[in-house]
Symmetry: C2
Subunit: 379 residues, 2 copies
């Protein structure tokens, strides 16, 4: 199988190298946009790839939505299998790409878009065919897990932890999507699409770690609690929920054993029970290995990761009740129904009574608009 690669950045170079050395595949042309790094078999025009009859499959690892989508459409229309590691693309355009792939009888797989090397979507798709997936989620963003681990184990501040993650290549120059939870949200959107045939694009909530301070970390550690950023999706009374928010966990929770930039993805099958998968969620070869895995699955006949019934949908997070640990200015205390609270260093740390995910996220959003600095996490 000859595979063209779109993009020659960190992951693209890994994919190309694995294609070159694996006897199952042949490395095809690499699309590099004008002005970008040089590559072997470099082409600068997608038409040269889609018109190349020797190319069987296209691996998209360039990122972004609009251009990647246009190229994906061209590749599929030309009858080429299409695999991608691009979670922004699939969360925005997955249903269209899947319909086109089905029409053309070619494969459209994207397990590298969620969890890097962790074979989460692949196994979730296999499981959902014969099992009822009751819930899914976990630690799906390695950048923030690295930062949390460093803040908690070394007492680093948020900015220090971010700089370190950037220096190590774990965080991008613009880390917004990672630190706000948007990246993890896109991944849980894909998980819901695979598990439930519904790709939620409305009613979603994501809270990241960009409000967390070293003082917060010290306070929570004093209570024996460790912070992790968790993505959650599932069905509750037939309603789809999907959200991302920090959680404070006791030290012996399995999530606390997930260190550095590792991911931990889980699903709960009615028959299988809880299945947990861990590994590196990003990086050149880990992510490339997932792209190659999708190509292997296409080689032995798999064609779809989304099923024919899959459609864009909305999440309903008003039925998900959580108890939250909140750090806020004294002026905000009256805004919440609290079970307990404690003043510390000019702020108040408090535990709410159960409140829905939707209500909590919207309340904090409104208070922040009024200039109130708040951190909150499920407990």
């Amino acid at each position: 199988m000859k595979v063209a690669v779109l993009g020659f950045g960190v992951v693209g170079q890994g994919v190309y190298e694995m294609l070159r050395t694996c006897p199952l595949f042949e490395a095809g042309p690499v699309l590099v946009r004008p002005g970008k790094a040089d590559a072997p078999f470099k082409v600068d025009d997608i038409e040269k790839i889609v018109n190349d009859e020797s190319v069987d499959a296209v691996a998209e690892v360039m990122g972004g939505v609009d251009v990647a989508y246009a190229y994906g459409v061209k590749a599929l229309k030309a009858g080429k299998h299409f695999v991608t590691s691009n979670k922004a693309l699939v969360s925005a355009k997955g249903v269209e790409l899947d319909a086109l792939a089905r029409e053309k009888g070619v494969g459209f797989l994207f397990s590298a878009a969620c969890g890097g090397a962790v074979p989460f979507l692949h196994n979730l798709e296999l499981a959902r065919q014969s099992d009822d997936i009751e819930a899914l989620g976990g630690i799906l963003n390695g950048t923030t897990n690295y930062m949390l681990d460093r803040m908690q184990s070394e007492g680093l501040g948020y900015e220090e932890a971010l700089s370190e993650a950037q220096a190590l290549g774990y965080a991008e120059a613009d880390p917004t999507a990672d630190v706000t939870g948007l990246d993890a949200l896109r991944k849980i959107m894909l998980g819901c699409a695979v598990a439930y045939d519904r790709l939620p694009v409305e009613g979603l909530y994501n809270e990241g770690i960009d409000s967390l301070t070293a003082a917060d970390v010290a306070h929570f550690q004093g209570k024996g609690l460790t912070c992790r950023l968790l993505a959650k999706g599932g069905l509750a009374e037939g309603k789809l929920y999907a959200y991302v928010q920090p959680a404070l966990l006791p030290a012996d929770a399995p999530e606390c054993a997930v260190k550095k930039n590792f991911n931990m993805a889980k699903y709960l099958g009615k028959n299988s029970g809880q299945i947990v998968l861990m590994g590196q969620g990003a990086g050149r070869y880990p992510t490339a290995s997932a792209v190659i895995r999708d190509l292997e699955c296409i080689r032995f006949g798999q064609r779809e990761m989304l099923h024919e019934l899959c459609e864009y949908s909305k999440a309903e997070n008003d039925g998900c009740l959580c108890t939250y640990y909140v750090r806020m200015p004294k002026a905000c205390v009256a805004e919440f129904e609290l079970a307990e609270s404690e003043a510390q260093g000019g702020a108040v740390y408090a535990i709410t009574k159960p409140i829905s995910v939707k209500a909590m996220h919207e309340k904090v959003r409104a208070l922040r608009k009024g200039g109130m600095p708040i951190f909150f996490a499920e407990i």
Copy 2:
């Protein structure tokens, strides 16, 4: 796809139920041996299944080697796909069954034979196609993990823990294969066959937990150490190693977060890095879900889990050096090169200097023949 089931015990009933309710499959006849429990579509003669042209695949979940092998051969010769959860069968006869399946162009998959619901062999096989697997293993036996967890968290003695495991259905009436590490050894044999095309049948060593006492557990806990039974396989300087032995781990080791009858299986890929999979290693529906997963993979075109080059082989464990924590009678102390030792309650607890797995297992075997009660674990 119509699937016949061989065996109607704990797992067979789960497989039948999942076949009956999953729209991808049709439940075919169930072979129940004379005198055994009743079943729907019961037949008592394998010929009725292999001669039934409407049957596409056979799922063997009856256990044992000789009869299961004879039936597997008949099914494959009749051109039916063959899936099995039977680790004793595949570790003894996997190469022959695979060759026959290849000759007939049908599928032979057995991911349920290692790890129950944990999709270990499936993902290992996908990974090894494009990656170098540097090592594999983990906690592959749920019975002993349950017993260790109970001995360590509740202070139960060995016999109490075993009785409890039997009462809960986690251990069989004859628990020998589990508690001696033979069951875990068979699973690591299968892992090596999938990863390296070599199914080791000689030079293997397995030490279980049947020498562990409540006093040992208390002693190790006093040192901050938790016992787990680990299976390990891999290549070291081109030589295949494969063995099972207890290990004493610090409390924050990820293995210590594996509770009750759960399994934790790992592989280290050169490209993917460390991949860890956890879930229930046994039980009706967890194991049935793995049998069904294999059938799904056959449905979309996968045919093999062992590759054509796979052959019976031997393990060489003389190059694997470990440091061991040993509990022994004073009379044995001179038999080991020790780094430190401590007398306690009539016995000696000691830490050896590095010694090969082969030398250690053989030394203890010889001393036990002389009546010496010894427990040892890697540290």
